[in-house]
């Protein structure tokens, strides 16, 4: 059964591919939950806020309200789905015990992260693009900076997938798995300017809103669509990259110490 000693790879790309394929196969097995459900929810937002209420609202920064909310709604889905996908992906092996195989394999922590986070981010980006396509059926849209739009889409998906990955390792039960997405991320996303410009807020609340990291994500993403933003696009990009860096450092610490994995 033993083979001639094949030296272990310095970079275990096959492990990354195996994890990535495994995770993508899981999504394809559950298309209703993975794709149809978030698309349906977002479509309902368009119907209610875009078509029904939006037609009675003033335009914001010269943008029809129905179109104005599209970047925010995509970002809302992107954040929640990235976290849900990645947190469940790593939590479930912990819950069932199959994580033993991951921990005993010749694979570096960052390779594990690339596999899981890559798959979760891919799903989120595809979902974001599907929702974008769906939005064009409800409202007229223009994208002034398509490459920036893709950059923000991918960066946000990766960053929040990584954040979800950390939540999945931290969680020691299904309730905790839901706590951060439901009680922290969703309120931040709703209050982060998904449905309005934070310039519409009174001065005090506008200052408070600037402490909400989601504001920067939505603002930058909306700028890529319409060329208008609540905060400068450079600041948005910097904040996103900063959060990504924090998540990378935290994940590295988790694997180095074995926190909630090896003790």
């Amino acid at each position: 059964m033993t083979s001639a000693s094949e030296a272990p790879p310095a970079f275990n790309g096959r492990a990354i591919a195996a994890i990535y394929r495994f995770e993508m196969a899981r999504t394809l097995r559950t298309p209703l939950q993975s794709v149809v459900s978030p698309v349906l929810s977002t479509s309902l937002y368009f119907v209610v806020f875009g078509a029904a209420i939006g037609s009675r609202m003033q335009s914001i920064d010269g943008i029809a309200y129905g179109a104005f909310i599209v970047p925010g709604l995509i970002m809302l889905t992107l954040l929640t789905q990235s976290i849900a996908n990645a947190s469940f992906a790593i939590y479930f092996p912990k819950f069932t015990g199959t994580i033993y195989e991951l921990l005993s394999a010749p694979v570096a922590w960052w390779e594990v992260v690339i596999g899981y986070v890559g798959a979760a981010a891919t799903k989120s980006v595809v979902l974001g693009l599907i929702i974008l396509l769906t939005a064009t059926f409800f409202v007229p849209l223009r994208i002034e900076h398509p490459l920036w739009m893709l950059l923000f889409l991918v960066l946000t998906a990766v960053t929040f997938s990584l954040f979800g990955f950390i939540i999945g390792i931290w969680a020691d039960g299904f309730e905790r798995l839901q706590v951060v997405p439901l009680l922290v991320v969703t309120p931040l996303a709703f209050l982060g300017g998904s449905f309005y410009s934070i310039d519409m807020l009174p001065s005090f609340w506008r200052t408070v809103a600037l402490f909400n990291p989601v504001v920067y994500l939505i603002s930058g993403f909306r700028w890529s669509f319409f060329g208008v933003a609540d905060v400068g696009v450079g600041v948005s990009l910097g904040m996103t990259l900063g959060f990504l860096l924090v998540c990378i450092v935290a994940t590295g610490w988790i694997f180095r110490t074995g926190y909630r994995l090896k003790n």
Partner: protein, 311 residues
């Protein structure tokens, strides 16, 4: 001939969990290349913790481990590539097919796709007919085979089997024993923990006994049984005895079967077993027997005696 480098070298290994529970005290252990090593110990003795540290599932508190010459921390890729693990719990994916999950394991260990090898492993484990079946539809015994197939998918040189036959039927147990022998013939070193002492007795080349986080004995199995094994000579009497005569008081005798039998316990490692003198003394006492047989203590008897001796 120079001594062979051990394929697993455990040195000064200890583990204290965050709760304060000390699962392993200072453990030193060497596993020889190509052997079947049985690690015996009661529940909570530290068997699974020891295996988990060697395989990378648990961080040690102190000490080091080398697998095929590679430090399991500094050279974890090289060390882990050599090791296959079949854990105690039946932990499998539910919705994957058998073939997909075995191929996944191979990929995880950085090996290129090899459908022929996967087919051979599945056939060896009588899983080929189930190759496209989702794992959740398999019986417990079949799931156990899947876990072994996953552990073998990257062609390990060292295989850890943590309670491999717990809860499996006799037929599957025999199949597994056969597989283990076949793996050993192919040069794979096997380390197994088991509650079935007969399994260790049947399979192992060497036996290690762990108790309360310490290795209390490592010994060649046959040597161990020779050293510690007690032998008993049972004499079936022609006429039952109410009590042993005083002239036989110097022998380690007991009356059994309501006085129908005399049981003589003796030490196999002693220079003289005392059987000849006993038979002569019995003749002089007028005690005649119609049959006799001898029996030797099993590994289980030895194990119980070792562990209970320390409690």
């Amino acid at each position: 001939m120079p001594p062979m480098t051990p394929i697993i070298a455990v040195s000064g290994l200890s583990k204290t969990y965050a709760s304060g529970f000390q699962a392993l005290k200072t453990v030193d252990l060497e596993i020889r290349q190509g052997e079947i090593f049985a690690l015996l110990g009661p529940n909570g003795a530290g068997k699974t913790t020891l295996i988990s540290i060697i395989c990378g599932l648990v961080n040690p508190s102190t000490g080091s481990v080398r697998a095929d010459g590679h430090d399991i921390v500094a050279e974890y890729r090289a060390a882990r590539a050599k090791i296959g693990l079949v854990p105690q719990e039946l932990t499998t994916d539910a919705f994957e097919t058998v073939r997909a999950t075995v191929s996944f394991s191979r990929g995880l260990f950085g090996k290129r796709k090899d459908p022929d090898l996967v087919e051979r492993v599945l056939k060896d484990l009588s899983l080929w007919d189930k190759r496209d079946t989702q794992i959740r539809r398999l019986s417990g015994g079949m799931k156990r085979r899947v876990m072994i197939a996953k552990a073998l998918a990257h062609e390990p040189r060292i295989l850890f089997l943590d309670e491999p036959t717990a809860g499996v039927d006799v037929e599957l147990r025999q199949d597994m024993w056969q597989l283990v022998r076949q793996l050993r013939e192919n040069g794979v070193t096997i380390i197994l923990t088991t509650h079935y002492i007969e399994e260790a007795e049947e399979m192992a080349d060497r036996v290690g006994v762990i108790s309360k986080g310490e290795i209390i004995l490592v010994e060649d199995k046959t040597e161990l049984m020779r050293k510690l094994g007690r032998k008993q000579l049972t004499l079936s009497l022609q006429t039952p005895l109410a009590a042993l005569p005083a002239s036989l008081a110097g022998y380690n005798l007991t009356l059994a079967a309501g006085g129908d039998e005399i049981v003589f316990t003796y030490d196999t490692k002693a220079e003289r077993t005392g059987i000849t003198a006993l038979l002569q003394a019995l003749g002089e006492a007028g005690i005649r027997f119609r049959d006799l047989n001898t029996s030797q203590s099993s590994l289980e008897d030895i194990f119980v005696s070792l562990v209970s001796g320390r409690s």
